[in-house]
Amino acid sequence: MAKENVYVRAEVMQDVLRAELLGEIDHHTCRPMREELDELLYLHRPRTLIIDLGSVSFMDSSGLGLLMGRIALAESLGTRVTVRSPSLRVRRILELSGITRLTSLVLEGGSGTQKKERKEHV
């Protein structure tokens, strides 16, 4: 099942919700992204949420707030979170925040050095 709006392209397969964020993540686009992601999380209650940042062309610290909030919500629902494919630029912002050091978060793929990965077969 696939659902698409202009900010988030989402797909649910078995127990995995894969949400691809599209374009720029700033304070303005965070709100519709947040609403969409939260709605999907509550609706599907997946075992795993994959947030794919491969199509994100820009992200500032608003994106950090967005991710941290979704991670907190997902965990409260018992959902594990994987953040996938950040570009070098996006990864830099992620590392600034220390979000990459969260032991509960799996960070996969993307360009640049792989800092921390767990073998996770989804």
Binding site: E24, H27, F58, D60, S61, S62, L96
Partner: protein, 144 residues
């Protein structure tokens, strides 16, 4: 040190979230004449985004007001970006600049705005007066 100005732009527009991307694009377009590296331009766009977002969210509590952005280009390839608002002002600038500090209560602000600005610019200075407004000045020297 007296710098030689080669160009200057002033941008005046509403401090609404839809204009965050506009400010990034306009400042980037203006700086393009210095032929910055891709990384440098991306750094500046991010810093501008943070400063503008601060004005939208914190200065005006998302209720609107005006943004005044001045970009000055110097002959030594230094870029000065001033983001000014006439909003509520910051009572304790030092506290505001502490990483993770935020006055936001019901949103999901990360409190990393100033940290990002400081990481991507050479120097960031903040002048503020409660009840009058805030001016954030960012300096970045582009590589040759």
């Amino acid at each position: 040190m007296k710098r030689v100005t080669i160009n200057r732009m002033k941008l005046h527009l509403p401090a609404i979230s839809a204009n965050e991307s506009v400010c990034r694009a306009v400042v980037a377009a203006f700086i393009a004449q210095l032929d910055p590296a891709i990384e440098e331009l991306a750094d500046i766009k991010c810093a501008v985004s943070e400063a503008v977002t601060n004005a939208v969210v914190h200065a005006y509590f998302c209720r609107g007001g005006d943004l005044y952005i001045t970009v000055t280009l110097y002959a030594d390839r230094t870029v000065k970006i001033e983001v000014r608002d006439k909003g509520c002002g910051i009572p304790d600038v030092k506290q505001a600049r502490t990483p993770l500090f935020t006055t936001d209560t019901d949103g999901e602000r990360s409190g990393m705005g100033f940290s990002v600005m400081e990481t991507f610019c050479d120097r960031v200075s903040v002048h503020s007066r409660v009840g009058h407004g805030t001016r954030v000045t960012m300096l970045k020297k582009l590589a040759e």
